[in-house]
Symmetry: C2
Subunit: 242 residues, 2 copies
DNA sequence: TCAAAAGTGTTCTTATTACACCCATGG
DNA sequence: CCATGGGTGTAATAAGAACACTTTTGA
């Protein structure tokens, strides 16, 4: 193997085997939102080749001198305007031919956001940005459909291990909205009484003295999350320790 | 941004932004074993700079024309002689300065193996290969200690969601050995009766008409795994669906 | 006969499931 | 007055946790 010195930002020089150094690294962001009924996903329409005109996950190559996690946040911001979202790594996809132009390995990140609070706008190589119901997403650029599916599996796992909703619902919501969110994520119906019993027993909800208005049925009581307790729950997960 | 054509194996040509293409990608393997008492980890002593003489996870750069999963299997084989192990991806580590010679992003894989069945021998840039009790591992090359910790967390999660043991124990084992394995992974003691009740209720064990020999106490009955049922359990995990 | 680990059941508590009717509102 | 979704409790079952003594062997 042949060694060579190459110029490298942030470090003086490197002596690494040249043939390894013709690859790129990207991140792709799977941003889930909820509109009160359906689970949605944020996609961009690509304005560049390859896959120009295709819908895709917001993603791009990262810089040599940025951490991949920071890169994910930057790429998401540059393409969609979304910022200050909590991104969590899911999985790295590295089959040889996943990118038609060269060897590009990508790491998927996911996040949950409130659609209403997150105005998005297309920038950079994104020609459009839009929310799509996950049930209607079928064709995506690259291997992005596979990535999306992996992230949905991850989301399903997460929702079983800790409460979800703070990131996806408006500040005040009804228990039925929360239940619809769980049903949208887990893709099966739940019993109303059992769901309420369980979610209330977690002690992460605060009952408000406010009700829905203008609905053609008995108005539902509004709740909010007890932010402190919610966060503790998320951090610790359900404790399985003895 | 400046575009250029670079030579690329397996594809004709690429037009990708040059500054992105000075990085490398590696894999690191976290191989867990069990000796009947302690959880152990397979390490190599590096024979090359950087971190020459340090103990490290078996890891190396991957080739441009190999899938990362295949790369993990190859690297593990080349360094330690271990092959045909089931590798599962855990997490990708991509802070800028994690490798002193340049930008190297790495993906960690883990596996579980029977130490006795897996003769290992140092090759390539591994000067030595050896099993270490996880409790005694403290200094490792690069950020490998962080990677090891992440994989241990993953292993703890896994053991709560599906049975573990087939990959780590000899073909015939006692229930106490199995319990010691669980305790070694989860790092807390378990009640003998409750453990037995639970593991037997999974129906993945076959009671043998054989007993321990030559022990200075009442000899324990031997069990083996019902391979079919075990595999089904692993694949499906614990089903939480309604 | 002693030390060491094997083996074994019951009780209590908690979590999970299944299930049906009345209530408040807008149209 | 009707359609719509809101709101409520109980009983049965299953899972999890706590807990102590007898058995078998080799030394």
């Amino acid at each position: 193997m042949q060694l060579e010195q190459i110029k490298y930002p942030a470090q003086e020089s490197v002596a690494l085997t040249e043939p390894f150094f013709h690859m790129a690294f990207s991140v792709d962001c799977v941003i889930f939102g909820f509109d009160g009924n359906e689970l949605k996903i944020l996609l961009i329409k690509r304005g560049e080749e390859p896959f120009g005109g295709y819908w895709a996950l917001p993603g791009n190559l990262i810089y040599l001198n940025e951490n991949i996690h920071d890169g994910a946040a930057r790429v998401l911001r540059e393409l969609t305007g979304l910022q200050n979202v909590y991104l969590e790594q899911v999985e790295t996809f590295g089959t040889v031919n996943r990118h038609p132009l060269g060897r590009v390995i990508t790491t998927a990140y996911y996040s949950l956001v409130k659609i209403a609070d997150c105005p998005v706008f297309a920038q950079s190589h994104a020609e459009e940005v839009s929310w799509f119901p996950i049930s209607k997403v079928s064709d995506l650029a690259f291997d992005h459909l596979e990535i999306l599916k992996a992230c949905m599996q991850k989301l399903k796992k997460i929702v079983r291990g800790r409460p979800v909703g703070f990131e996806l619902l408006p500040p005040k919501f009804t228990l039925s909205e929360l239940q619809r969110l769980y049903e949208a994520i887990l893709e099966y119906p739940m019993d109303k009484r059992n769901f309420r019993k369980k979610i209330l027993s977690m002690n992460i909800l605060v009952e408000l003295e406010q009700y829905q208005e203008g609905v053609a049925h008995r108005p539902a009581r509004l709740y909010k999350f007890d932010e402190e307790k919610y966060k503790r729950f998320v951090e610790e997960g359900f404790s399985f320790a003895v």
